[in-house]
Structures are given as C-alpha cells and as structure tokens.
C-alpha cells in the first residue's frame, strides 16, 4: 500500500507544482500560502470523494470504465470524456517538461537534452508496463525524500523553529547583498528562464560585468546604452535602471545594496497587499485546483490500482500534504537564508539549490542539493507515468505521441510550468471532474447527461481560455469577463454540472427500490 500511496502523492509533488509554488511564496509571504494549501486540500478531496468507489473497479480502470460502470454510454459520451482526459494529460505532461526545461536552464544543463531524456524515461517505463507500479513508488519515494531530508538538514544546521524564521524574514529592514556572499566577493553567473536576464535596479549600485557578450543598460527616461563586453568592466547603475545581460553572464554586485527583484524589506514581503485580482484571484485559483484535482488524468491514473486504492489514497493524500508543507518551508528558508534567489526573477529551481548555499552544511550541502534535485526528477517521472496510466486503455500508440507532443511544446513554447499546470487543472475541472463525482455518488445519472455536460464544459473552457490568451476579455482585475476568462473553470465546471444534473433528472428513487446495478457495485 505504501508504494501506491507514494505514487498518488507524486501527482501533487511533481516538479511543475514544486517549481510553480516557490516564486509565489517568495513574492508574498502571506498569500503565497494559498496555492499549496488548496493543493493539499485538493489531494484530500480526491482521496475522500473518489478513492472508495474507484477501489471497486478492476485494476487499471480509468474514467471511461467508471462511466461505463454506470450504464452504456452513447458514443459521444465516450468521445468527449476521452478528449478531455487526453488534453488534460497533454497539458499536465507539458507542465512537467516545462519544469524540467527551467530546472535544466537554472542549473546550466543543456535544456533540449534534459527534456528529451525526460520524454524518453516515462516512455520506456510505459513500454515495460509490469514495472509501472514499482517506478511510480520509487519516484514518489524519491520526491518525498528529496523534499524532507535536505530540508531537515537545513533546519538542523540553521534554525529548526520556523516561526522564528518567519518573524526574522518578515522583520528585515532592507533586503540587501551580504558582504560575505559569493555575489559580492567573486561574482557568479546569473541564470534566468530566457535567453536574456533583465535586472531592475532599485537603488544606485556598482555592478562588475565579468563575462563576454552584449550588455544593455536602459534608463527610466528611455535612454539605452549597449556594448559588447570582452573584459571585466564596472558600471554604476542608477535607481530605476535596467541591466540586460545574456543568460549565464557572470556579475559581481556591491555589498549592502538592495537586491534587484527582491521586496524592499521584510514587511513588504509579509504584507505586500492583496495584489492584482484580489479575492477574485484567490477564488479562481481555489475552484480550479480543488475541482480540477478530481478530474485530473494523473490523479485517476494514480487511483487505478484496485482493491487497496482507498487506503493508499488516504495515505497518499497525507504524504502529499506533508510534502506540500515541506515545499512551503523550502521557500521560507530560501527567502531568509539566500535572498539572492530573487535576482533574475524566481524560476523555482533556485529554491531547491538551497542546501548547496548554506555554509553551515559544509561539504554535505552539495550532495543534499543533488538529493533535492533527484527528488524533483523522481516526482516528475512518477507523475508522468501516473498520467499515462490514466489514459483510456486500448490506445497504446497514444502515449508516446502525447509524450513527444508535450516535449515539443515544452521545448518550443517559452511558457512557465505553473500557467500550463493551471490550464490542466482548469480543463479537468470543466470536463472530467463533474462526470467522475456524479458517476461515483449520484443515483440518477444519464450517460447522455454526462456527455452533454462534458462537451459544454470543454467548449466553455476552450472558448474562455482562448479569449483570455488573445487578450480580448480585458484585465482580470477590472472586468468580470476578464476574471472568468482568466479562470475558465469558474464557468465550465458549473455549466457541466448543471447540464449533467438536468439531463439526468427523473422521479426520486424509492427507498424500497434497489440501487442501480453500477452504483451498487461501486458501493457494495
């Protein structure tokens, strides 16, 4: 059961989640807690709502088998649910591979090679189908160990009382370069997520350009200075200036000056204000992640393990919650110990390099950092294999095609993993989640209703997402349409449920009548 639980937990501890959460908490020391909290609640909801009925299905069952258990579905029902499951899987895999790409860039590894390897590994595992369960268990275990062991070492070596760390981080009068740090003494290559790294300087400071390449300085009044640098040169940047250097360019900063990109002070980090979107953004994120988890192909794949699935899902949700709490602490300690992570805009990977930057860990820092990175890789592999297991059976050719398509998207489309992950959750919330919940718990259920609901949810989600991407709906902060388009699950999920509910109406079942055969089988 532990192996299955670890496989379940890996869906919520995948690299796209962990790299996506880090910048949120580093930006906002209070509201940055909301996404990991909602994700942990989502894992608990999946275990509570779906695990027991799902355990009654034969091993390897997916949403299609669950729907078929409740009655013979018309062709359209199977089609719309299959499209939704496949698209959700593609988006989820894309998010994982985009995280691998960002991680590789952050570490200075070749990104295309890393993504290709990340495509190849799950493909090999899926081909060797018998090893699938073992691989998800090992991947989940690595994800959890990679989160917990290095974090425990950092806590022991620094300060194990996190409330004291939060208070210290939130009380800093200024967030500045430490005089003893590597950025001030020898200088370091700066790594971002694109070809160029843009540094926005808040107060005047001297920066030494140590590398070779084209460097540009833009001032607030619109003037620009550009030069091909071939030998170390020191420049003085004024408040509001922007320094643009190639990714990986080595720089040295002035001690005691504010770190570009970081909040001004601890209180600015702890109380940055409600931010763009306000309560609407909190609500949109909650609906997307909570309902989306119930329809996620990866979650269904992790549940598809037969009789012990219910207990395994409960344990898995506990482990996922534990891992997400650890991810919060990683970001908190990174904000406190290494404020330089803000420099190039936080991609997320910097946070998991923390053990290598904590001087108190000494020689143990580097292997602990490698363990954290191995955990990210293990979680990604387990989540990818679970996603492929959640696809409708009988379509073996679909899996490698999806992996290759996700790899190409991650390599060619420069989008961060978090927005793609939100699209995967949003699509699942609008299409598969209502069908999964109603099939598990509603007595009156029409396969046609599920089909129509899923189709309406799919159309609503796709339409609103495209309107948002094209920028036609206006800003989410200013207009209701903009808000709904930014969080399409807010429209897609209720429309889906309403259609499925209305089309499944009928006389109230009598207390004396037997349960419909499919439902009796699920709860027998």
């Amino acid at each position: 059961m532990l192996g299955r639980a670890l496989g379940f937990a890996a869906v919520w501890l995948c690299p796209a989640v962990l790299l996506g959460l880090a910048p949120l908490l580093l930006t906002d020391g209070t509201r940055g807690l909301w996404p990991p909290l909602v994700l942990a609640a989502g894992a608990c909801l999946v275990a509570v709502v779906l695990a027991v009925p799902w355990a009654a299905l034969p091993p390897g069952s997916t949403l299609r088998e669950l729907a078929a258990c409740r009655g013979p579905a018309p062709g359209a029902a199977g089609l719309s649910l299959a499209i939704a499951a496949t698209a959700s899987a593609l988006l989820f895999l894309w998010a994982q591979l985009a995280a691998v790409r960002d991680l590789a860039r952050g570490l200075g590894w070749p990104a295309p090679l890393s993504v290709a390897l990340a495509v190849l590994l799950p493909a090999l595992v899926v081909m060797a189908d018998r090893r699938r369960r073992a691989v998800t268990a090992i991947g989940g275990a690595l994800a959890l160990i990679g989160l917990l062991v290095p974090l425990a070492a950092v806590l022991v070596a620094t300060d194990p009382v996190w409330p004291r760390v939060w208070a210290a981080a939130a009380s800093r009068t200024r967030i500045v370069f430490d005089g003893e740090g590597a950025w001030v003494r020898a200088g370091q290559p700066i790594r971002g997520t694109g070809r160029d790294v843009v540094l926005r300087v808040r107060e005047e400071q001297r920066v030494t350009l140590l590398g070779r390449g084209r460097v540009r300085i833009e001032t607030p009044d619109g003037a620009a200075w550009s030069r091909e640098v071939s030998a170390p040169v020191e420049v003085t940047l004024g408040s509001g200036d922007q320094l643009v250097v190639p990714d990986g360019f080595p720089l040295r900063f002035q001690a005691g000056r504010s770190i570009p990109g970081a909040p001004r002070s601890g209180p600015d980090w702890a109380e940055p204000g409600l931010g763009p979107g306000g309560w609407r953004a909190l609500a949109g994120l909650a609906v997307t992640l909570l309902i989306g988890g119930l329809g996620l192909t990866a979650a269904h794949g992790a549940l598809a393990d037969g009789a012990a699935a219910a207990g395994a899902a409960r344990l898995g949700a506990t482990l996922a919650s534990l891992g997400l709490a650890a991810a919060v602490l990683w970001s908190l300690y990174a904000a406190w110990l290494t404020p330089e992570v803000y420099l190039a805009g936080v991609a997320g990977s910097e946070v998991y390099e923390l053990p290598g930057r904590v001087a108190a860990l000494g020689a143990a820092g580097a292997p602990l950092r490698d363990l954290a990175l191995l955990g990210l890789a293990g979680g990604g592999l387990a989540a990818a294999v679970a996603t492929l297991a959640g696809l409708p059976p009988g379509t073996p050719g679909l899996r490698p095609v999806l992996l290759i398509a996700a790899g190409l998207l991650a390599g060619l489309v420069p989008v961060a993993p978090w927005p793609v992950l939100l699209l995967a959750f949003g699509l699942s919330a609008s299409t598969s989640a209502p069908a999964a919940v109603l099939a598990c718990w509603r007595e009156r259920l029409s396969p046609l209703g599920c089909a129509v609901g899923a189709t309406i949810g799919l159309v609503a989600f796709t339409g609103l997402a495209l309107v948002h991407i094209a920028g036609l709906a206006g800003s989410p902060e200013a207009a209701w349409l903009g808000w709904l388009a930014a969080w399409p699950a807010l429209v897609g999920a209720p429309l889906n449920v309403a259609a499925a509910w209305l089309l499944s109406s009928g006389p109230r079942p009598s207390d004396r009548a037997p349960l419909p055969p499919g439902l009796a089988e699920l709860h027998g």
Binding site: T30, L33, L37, V48, T318, S321
Partner: protein
C-alpha cells in the same frame, strides 16, 4: 419465536450508500469550510492575515489549522466496504 430486531438486520445497499454519503459530506465540509475561512482572512481588508500572533502572521496559523483539519477529514470520509474473502 423471537421477532428479529430490525436494527440488527444487515444494512441494505441503499442504507450503506446513505451512510457513505453522510460521511462524504462531513469530510468534504471539513476540508472546504476551514479553507473558506482562510480564503476570507487572506482577502480581508487592512492586511488582517498579516497581523502577528506569536511573531507569525495569523494567516499562517489559520492555514496550519485548515491543513490539519483536511488531514482529519481523511479517516472521517467514506469507508471501503467489507468484502467477502
């Protein structure tokens, strides 16, 4: 002949489903309601969530409580049926 006590009779599938639904609703409420309270606090005016309690923003304490209640919901949710061997 002693009449059989209806309370001791084996529950029908419908009774089992009804009990499972009650457990489901209880567990879902235990996950969702604290989450709603945290959401309200985070969106509350005057940075209420950042007010310090024991040195830490009150939003963190309430989030920890919601986290714990979510975990508590797991054993209170629907139970797997006992199947014949």
């Amino acid at each position: 002949m002693i009449p059989r006590d209806p309370a001791l009779a084996a529950p029908t599938p419908r009774d089992r489903l009804r009990r499972q639904r009650v457990r489901l609703l209880r567990a879902v409420a235990l996950v969702i309601l604290p989450l709603g309270a945290v959401g309200w606090l985070l969106a509350a005016p005057h940075e209420l969530a950042a007010v310090r309690l024991g040195g830490v923003g009150v939003g963190w304490w309430l989030s920890g409580l919601a986290w714990a209640l979510g975990l508590l919901a797991l054993p209170l949710g629907p139970r797997p049926p006992r199947r014949a061997a």
